[in-house]
């Protein structure tokens, strides 16, 4: 050992200015923390929703601005009002209410009257979130619950769509129904579904030239947003991939078993709220399982329920139903999909034996 007995030159004794009495902060370890915060996360998710919102405005003009804006304002308003009435600290600054409003707005029809936006926001913020204790405590996705409530309670306004100024609208001849509704009607009448599997149609669906709720028509815009979510490390891919994969496989099997019952897998992936739901709603932290395995189970459940409702149910679209139903299962999934702690049951347990020791 190279012992250094020589004393190195000492810096001249500078008086240590002590922090004043009682100003040192005492807290438990760790003493450093990530710069991430809740409102940062919410803001970034909203940023990722922007492409879809912009596309909605391009397609539907002021109506889109109106519905999305109203929902955001109403949601924030309800949150502020709730905090005021229950005399608790204002939580609107965590941006979660605005995000809920934005997602809700993107889930609605551009022609929805303002009072339904108000009611929907009330359901989302007050009934689905605040009565459960606010952010982080709600078992159900607020936007999905609001959409389900509106779908059930106000089916007509929710499914009335603007005239589509696109080439496809004329081609289809259906202006008041989404392709999903049209396809399910066509299937019920045993009509030919080839139209919905044509590459022309699918291209339109990908680019957003079809009818539907504000934010869910343009798959491309949603995928751009999803890429943002992933690159910002806001979501993990387990849930969306499980949903999309399940839908693909399920529809493929149904198609193989009973042709003519429903259009192909691509149709189901590109229409309706699947993309928006898979990337932005099912991945909601609060209401999805925390483990990766749980996420996969959750996603598979959503995929199956969506397909069942779409193919056999009386509602043409089942994404929000599926999300809310699977939300109810999350506590169970979390319970059963949790692998135990490190070293709990070592598969490759190593037990050295006496003879092995030199």
């Amino acid at each position: 050992m190279e012992e250094k007995e020589t004393v190195s030159p000492v810096p001249e004794q500078k008086a240590v200015t002590l922090p004043p009495d009682g100003s040192l902060l005492l807290s438990s370890s760790p003493h450093i923390r990530t710069s991430l915060s809740i409102n940062k996360i919410m803001g970034e998710v909203m940023l990722c929703l922007l492409p879809a919102a912009v596309m909605a405005v391009c397609r539907y003009g002021w109506n889109a601005v109106r519905v999305i804006g109203l929902c955001m304002i109403f949601c924030a308003g309800w949150e502020m009002l709730w905090c005021k009435v229950t005399k608790q600290a204002q939580t609107v600054r965590d941006l979660s209410a605005l995000l809920t409003g934005m997602i809700l707005g993107l889930n609605l029809s551009p022609l929805l009257p303002w009072w339904l936006c108000l009611a929907g926001s009330f359901v989302a913020i007050v009934i689905a979130k605040q009565v459960f204790g606010g952010l982080g405590q709600n078992p159900f996705n607020p936007a999905a619950v609001a959409r389900v409530a509106l779908l059930v309670g106000a089916a007509r306004p929710m499914t009335t769509w603007a005239e589509l100024p696109s080439a496809f609208a004329q081609m289809d001849g259906v202006t008041s129904a989404t392709p999903l509704t049209a396809a399910s009607q066509a299937a019920a009448q045993h009509a030919d579904l080839a139209l919905y599997n044509s590459s022309d149609f699918l291209k339109n669906a990908f680019l957003g030239n079809i009818g539907g709720s504000l934010g869910e028509t343009c798959t491309l815009a949603i995928l751009i947003g999803a890429a943002g979510l992933i690159s910002l490390k806001l979501i993990r891919l387990y849930i969306p991939l499980a949903i999309l994969g399940t839908i693909t496989v399920f529809v493929w099997i149904v198609n193989a078993a009973a042709p003519g019952l429903t259009p192909g897998p691509l149709f189901h992936l590109l229409t309706g709220g699947v993309m928006l739901g898979a990337f932005f709603m099912a991945t909601d932290y609060v209401t999805s399982p925390v483990t990766n395995l749980g996420g996969v189970v959750f996603g598979i459940g959503i995929g199956v329920i969506v397909c069942v409702i779409r193919i056999w149910g009386s509602f043409p679209e089942g994404m929000s139903f599926a999300i809310v139903i699977m939300n109810a299962l999350v506590p169970l999934i979390d319970k059963f999909c949790y692998k135990r702690p490190f070293g709990w049951n070592p598969v490759n347990a190593y037990q050295p034996r006496r003879g092995e020791i030199k």
Partner: protein, 276 residues
Amino acid sequence: MTNVILAALALAILGLVLGMLIGYTAKRFAVQTDPRIEAITELLPGANCGGCGYAGCADYARAMVEDGVSPAGCAVVSEENFQKISQALGQDSGKRERKVAVVYCSGDNGHARRVALYNGLNDCRAAAVLSGGGKGCRFGCIGLGSCARSCQFGAIELRNGLAVVHPEICKGCGKCTEVCPRKLIRLVSAETKAHVYCNSLDKGPAKRKNCTAGCLACRKCVKAAPDIFNAQGFLVRAREGAEISDELIASINCPTGALQSVADHLRSGKGKEGAA
């Protein structure tokens, strides 16, 4: 008409048959329970505070009946019900002394020195291991209110960083004494009218540095009333259950105000909060 009579008859027969069947099963598979357990459970307060050391009142009642545990373990039950329980158990009940909890500290934010800011769980036990949550005194009240939250009866008030027990509400269950990491809450006879509200075993100067309301062991009180007050090291304690008149306290005039009557202690905190 015949139909109705027949229906009634048929139902009556059905009822009879089923009733007999139930009667038979009830006899055949009967389970014996002691009716006293239920009766005593009814008499207990039902707060399930756990002060007796059992999992709730029903469990305690079971223990009383089956294991012969004394009913005196429940501090909360009213005198009347206590007598009834003793009767039901066929035991001779003695007179119980009412006890209340006392927080032996008067170091609220106006008196105790803060050496650091505390940032973390709002819980005394968690703060106790972190240099005691920032107050300089390592014996005094941490002031995060774990005891107040543990009290089923809402008898503890957190006042300006100091827990204060309201003796008229306190049932003496002793839950707070277990929760307090500093062990400065004790159950004492409700008859004691004044206490030395300090728990610090530090030497005088060290105590003085950390708190302006601590007992400095000047022994003024011990000299005035040696039969009531006795000094243990650097801390004076009033004898439990001693008669201490307000005049005596006034004549002693404790220099730091650590010796206070219970009523004054309750009042003074309020006044200071208003001032702060």
